[in-house]
Symmetry: C2
């Protein structure tokens, strides 16, 4: 299978340049050279005289076909890691329709054997719950590899987007003495082996970096962060985690939530367009992995839906009217002054409009203390509204939310008191308004939830490497 010349050459030179599977396949290295490739065996097809192995190393979704002598193939198993050296050349038989080139292996070394009698990941399909219990090995599944590459890709696109617009990426603190959302569903932090406190007061894990980002935006104008966030919600739904990543941006010198919605819309547009033209985008939509046609079309529809121009804006009041005028029987009847329920959000996003939907200007009592009171509140004399938005999508409801932040110090103080928070706890935050403040605002987007939506994954627990939720924090 390999010419005597090359065999001699291999034995003579000993070591060859090592390539990743991505370099071999996607970057298309020149064929007819002797190379070394490391990777894991994804599948094996043992014939009489020859064994075909598909090799992957996680750098790409594609696999490289390796052709082994049957004696080399004998002791192999899927999941084993191997070092392969051989001639990378034109495919001679088998799988030819899929790949133009293959590796004719001269030298094979098993780095780590995976005994098929005990290895928990067998070729057959595993239940998602089974895999969640084995998160450390689940990482090795094709599906999780793909999600991890997608995550890395999204981070890099978002970074480039913000960088091109002169936003500064920041690292706001995780440990904090402020409970931004005021929900009380927070984790407390203590030094593990101390009788006295490490810090002087009670310290919590951040539930949102927003308040600190506001301080940063009062210095750098436009800032963003992609930071872990913690919420102690006893939820077991498919949408919630106790630890997740939040993408947040905060912008000074803006006058209207329209500026915020426009940036968010641009960001998602840019991201989805890049995704569609990327190897990872192709991989998600590829027929090569186990995804049924309906699910694939659903994913494509989601991406195209994001690319629509002029996303719809409607006020909360209009949304309530639309819900009331619909003939749908909701479990919770829509009522002005009450929260939009998930059933309302989904109906609005799915039926009322054919683009992603911004619902703006909610009544102030439904929203946190920091949102800016609208000056147009006379329109609803009984129900003052704040200048905010929620971004709603079909199937999942809320994806992101944002608002102008109250920069008028007296109104802010009043709002803090109304929300039963202590002025003294927020004195530093109030200080931001005391000197050199400006109209400003920002938004937050649940990064893991967004990733799940883009990849068509139904449960957020299956998009995160090591998910943490109520009663679950193994590893």
């Amino acid at each position: 299978m390999i010419s005597r010349y090359f065999k001699r050459k291999i034995h003579k030179l000993g070591t060859y340049k090592t390539y990743s599977v991505k370099e071999v396949i996607e970057k298309q290295i020149n064929p007819d050279q002797i190379i070394t490739v490391y990777g894991w065996i994804r599948s094996l097809r043992k014939m009489k005289n020859v064994t075909f192995a598909l090799i992957n190393d996680g750098t790409t979704g594609k696999t490289m076909q390796a052709v082994l002598r049957s004696d080399q193939g004998k002791g192999l198993s899927t999941g084993s890691s191997v070092k392969l050296t051989g001639l990378y050349t034109t495919t001679q038989n088998g799988f030819k329709e899929k790949q133009e080139y293959e590796l004719h292996v001269n030298d094979l070394q098993i780095c780590g054997y995976a005994d098929p009698s005990s290895y928990p990941l067998q070729k057959k399909h595993h239940d998602v719950k089974y895999l969640r219990e084995k998160a450390h090995l689940r990482l090795r599944t094709e599906s999780m590899c793909r999600l991890l590459r997608l995550r890395s890709f999204l981070i890099s696109i978002i970074s480039t987007f913000f960088s091109n617009k002169d936003y500064i990426q920041t690292h706001p603190p995780i440990l904090t003495s402020s409970d931004c959302e005021g929900s009380g569903k927070i984790f407390e932090v203590k030094s593990s082996n101390e009788s006295n406190n490490f810090f002087k007061k009670n310290i919590y894990l951040t539930v949102s970096t927003q308040l600190h980002l506001e301080a940063l935006s009062h210095s750098l104008s436009k800032v963003w962060s992609l930071s872990p966030i913690f919420r102690a919600e006893k939820s077991r739904t498919s949408k919630h985690l106790a630890e997740f990543y939040m993408l947040e941006a905060e912008i000074s010198f803006i006058n209207d939530i329209e500026d915020l919605m426009s940036i968010l819309e641009q960001m998602i547009h840019d991201l989805v367009k890049n995704l569609m033209n990327s190897p990872i985008g192709n991989e998600i939509l590829s027929e090569n992995h186990k995804i049924n046609k309906k699910d694939r079309i659903d994913i494509e529809n989601r991406w195209n839906f994001f690319l629509k121009d002029h996303w719809t804006r409607m006020t909360y009041a209009e949304a309530i009217d639309a819900l009331k005028n619909s003939s749908v029987h909701f479990k919770f009847p829509p009522k002005y002054g009450h929260d939009l329920q998930a059933e309302h959000e989904k109906w609005l996003a799915e039926n009322y409009t054919h683009t992603p939907l911004f619902v703006i200007n909610y009544p102030k009592q439904l929203k946190p203390f920091y949102m800016r009171l609208n000056n147009d509140s006379l329109k609803h004399p009984d129900h003052d509204t704040v200048s905010c938005f929620d971004l709603l999508l079909p199937q999942i409801g809320e994806l992101a939310g944002g608002s102008l932040r109250e920069e008028r110090i007296d109104i802010l103080k009043q709002s803090i008191v109304t929300h039963k928070k202590h002025l003294s706890d927020l004195s530093w935050y109030i200080d931001l308004r005391r000197w050199g403040t400006t109209k400003h605002g920002g938004f937050g987007l649940g990064f893991d939830r967004f990733l799940a939506y883009l990849a068509g994954i139904k449960n957020i627990k299956d998009t995160v490497a090591f998910p943490r939720w109520y009663q679950h924090c193994n590893f």
Copy 2:
């Protein structure tokens, strides 16, 4: 000062395109157009007929000169935020040597006034301790703005470096049940208002993402993370924080720590080269801000030091010999089998070599359980060594550390027991070696410490927006 034609035009059209100070100065927009710029007043020079204001909005270290009529300048103060509209045109007088163009302001609006009688940041130099107590306002100082921009720049360069080499950026968990380093100096996490536990067992904040990165590298080959890390050290030194960012990389299919050191060396090379050719690099070395010549030369020397080729490698044993053979009187006499003290590390980095210094192969009892036992341990029959390195630098000592990780399951288990850790707590970590393992390794670099070193900042507390350390977690 502004032509009647433009005045008419301003009144007629009302709004003009808004630019950031960076766009105006660095990207050099065309002069002789009417523009709007928002920003904070950095300094004011009030003359009889005219007021000069230097405007900055945090997007760049440079300021834009605005020329105001004396009546406009009357109510202004440094630190106030303003909206300025006017003609951007050739500088006519004053500061001409510094800037070719200036903004002749027609319309000025104060967004947020900073009352000089109360604003804590006055023009004069403030003590670092005073500023640390006011971290939310300290962000507005030129020095902190510069560090925040430097941080953002470094993140983006590192991302590009790893992305070009097919590393996948990952988000390992912050909440964990494993104490990676085994120091016991960890923070414990509890739900704040629950009598029963949110999680089933004791949960901590991660002290290193390494163990989880190893699981990820067993799937994706080459991974990295830039993640917050927490250590409950009761330290008040200039080098330690309770919360800081760690840059960590983990690589499968490598055979030698040389591969790791080479990647780290390349990364820092690439980063420093990019820094030197960047606006933020020029800004740090610029004579425009209050940095004395000695400090500036020191920073330049640090950068050039990193750019040296062929960083020195020496073994721990050689390091001990070098220390012993020196004529220096150390507080802690160097002794084989004992930790290198800060005084030893600094001496080695400063005197023994003229490049950054890798000290490799420490005795195993000085290092954590996961490091790979060297096969060459016969050279030191009494003291087995592990395949690891510390990267030492003049002035600060250790900057980064890395190692091969023990992939041989029996040796790993033995090491876990020797280090008085429970096999059951680490069963998932041992599992990684059970099936399809490979030789692998990685390194970690204290990101904030690195940033401080590059910028010549003496105390790490002055490089982080909201630093947390023993007894300090305000805001």
